[in-house]
Amino acid sequence: MALLEINDLHVNYGMITALKGISFEVNEGEVIALIGANGAGKTTTLHALTGLIPAKSGSIKLNGTELTKVPAHKIVEMGMAHVPEGRRIFQHLSVLDNLKLGAYTRKDKANIEKDMQMVYERFPRLAERKSQIAGTLSGGEQQMLAMGRALMSNPKIIVMDEPSMGLSPILVSEIFDIITSIRKDGTTVLLVEQNAKKALAIADRAYVLETGNIVLSGNASDLINDESIKKAYLGE
């Protein structure tokens, strides 16, 4: 059984259909990329997964448990963490407080402390800026903080929305290295990206979304050489 199974998922915004019945699955230990143009429904998919918007029909199963009727704050407890688009950190709180909030759903204090150290090891720059107000961090640091915050909930699967958005090329490479290392430590990753080249380079498999439908799927290494993908998303 896959860790995350999505079956015929429909989502509407009022009269507008955003997802027209998509199905995909994420197995434990995989990095899955969800790529597509603006307005294809990538972010909508992630929001439906994490309960931020209700699904119209279809099913989302995490470890066999149906998620479509579960409120957003319970989903984090069940092991799915969300790194929202555009680095939504808590601007006026310190780096430390941001990370503490990531562990809000957990009760095991000793392990939280351990995970905090792990996050600091992974992101040494956050350790240096522990008491700094998060809004004064640079864009890359804010992205790291958002990722660190998600890791603090000790998730089985982490879903990331455009982690490379608005960052310099060097930082983009750094962020993708971090994603690879997160996966190495045993956390499954579902990655939504517009930077298809980078995403396909680190992913195991990928799904291509177009106006609310999955139009293509397969091994990332195959897709990266696919002519239509090259033309549409890789600019070649």
């Binding site: 994490t50 931020l52 409120p71 957003a72 704050h73 319970k74 989903i75 984090v76 407890e77 963490a81 969300h82 929202p84 939504r88 950190i89 808590f90 601007q91 006026h92 709180l93 407080d97 503490k100 909030l101 990531g102 809000y104 759903t105 958002a146 915050r149 998600a150 909930s153």
Partner: protein, 360 residues
């Protein structure tokens, strides 16, 4: 020394400075009172000053910490005032000791207001920004108007209640009126005094600081900063909004009880939207999110019109308005603000240098 100062967390320092300031002001006022140097007008202002400070601090929790605009503060104050005063006037004979009766009245008034806060909060907190402000304003007015048309009397048969008129109650002619519509409640025991009001203010400030720097406070501030991110780290947004709204209502209710026990008559018309807006002005000019600022603004802005009354009489509200506008300009002008902070930093540096010199 260095390790010790590191152990004291910055917010502990901040809150203790506020407590120390409050106690210092209280001691000075008590001294002046003891020497009989305070005018009667100033004496009559002491309890209201504490009441307004409590109201400002409690509203700051919703406006500053939760980041939602509420204009229903006077309504919650009204509920607290009515329930507290009703309890006290009914229990005047049963519990003659004010030291026992008054704390119960305060707690009861606070709890009644908190109950209404949560009940109103459940539907209302789904709204945000301007809409929330409008709806809370309306609720405040509804509460005020219901209280103003409330008739309650007691005769040999028991209690009689009406929201139409005194005659509608069908009370026996020898019965006693307890709440008389727009004329309000009469004969509330005058249990409030400056010391009690001050102690409650101090407790309010302690509650506020501990709330802001607690786990719950952090969660509430995270909702203010970014609702979607807060939801995505697993916070139950509605729960934390309700907790904050309820706490604000509770403290406003407590303030209402103290207010009502400062006068022997209580009328609902006092708790109109002017009161709510006035409290919001205290919060905004004191600095949104700053608890110490709320207290200072409440005290200063209540004292100014009263002091002006003695000097320029009828023109005082005109000057008061000018002062408010000037304060708003100064606090929101970044250039002026920068100059002021540069100046205060310079002063701080000078003081530090002097201190170092002393030690050497």
């Amino acid at each position: 020394m260095k390790t010790k100062s590191k152990l004291i967390k910055p917010y502990t320092k901040k809150s203790f400075i506020t407590y120390a300031l409050l106690i210092a002001v209280f001691t000075i006022v008590q001294l002046i009172l003891n020497f009989g140097k305070m005018s009667f007008m100033m004496q009559s202002l002491l309890v209201p000053l504490c009441v307004y400070s409590i109201l400002a601090v409690s509203l700051n929790l919703t406006v500053g910490i939760l980041g939602e605009l509420s204009l229903g503060q006077a309504g919650f104050m009204c509920i607290g005032a009515y329930s507290g005063a009703l309890f006290s006037s009914l229990m005047k004979e049963a519990i003659p000791e004010a030291m026992v009766r008054f704390p119960i009245a305060i707690l009861l008034g606070g709890l009644c207001a908190a109950l209404f806060g949560v009940l109103i909060g459940i539907p209302v907190l789904r709204l945000r920004g301007d809409y929330l402000a409008i709806v809370t304003l309306a609720f405040g007015e509804i509460i005020k108007n219901i209280c103003a048309s409330l008739y309650l009397g007691k005769d040999a048969e028991g209690f009689h209640l009406s929201i139409k008129s005194a005659a509608d109650m069908n009370m026996a002619p020898d019965g006693k009126m307890i709440i008389n519509g727009a004329l309000g409640l009469n004969g509330t025991p005058k249990d409030s005094n400056f010391t009690v009001a001050f102690i409650i203010l101090l407790i309010t400030v302690i509650i506020a600081y501990n709330f802001v720097y607690s786990r719950t406070g952090r969660a509430v501030m995270s909702i203010r900063d970014n609702r979607i991110a807060a939801e995505s780290v697993g916070l139950n947004i509605t729960k934390y909004k309700l907790i904050t709204f309820g706490l604000t209502a509770f403290l406003a209710g407590v303030a209402g009880v103290i207010y009502s026990h400062n006068f022997s008559t209580l009328q609902a018309s006092k708790f109109d939207y002017n009161m709510s807006i006035l409290i919001l002005v205290f919060v905004v000019l004191g600095g949104i999110g700053s608890i110490r600022g709320s207290v200072i603004a409440a005290v200063v802005l209540t004292l100014i019109p009263e002091l002006l009354r003695e000097t320029i009489g009828n023109y005082r509200m005109l000057f008061y308005a000018v002062i408010l506008i000037a304060m708003m300009l100064v606090t929101s002008n970044s250039k002026l603000k920068g100059r002021i902070t540069a100046y205060t930093n310079k002063l701080k540096g000078l003081i530090k240098k002097e201190k170092k010199g002393e030690i050497k």
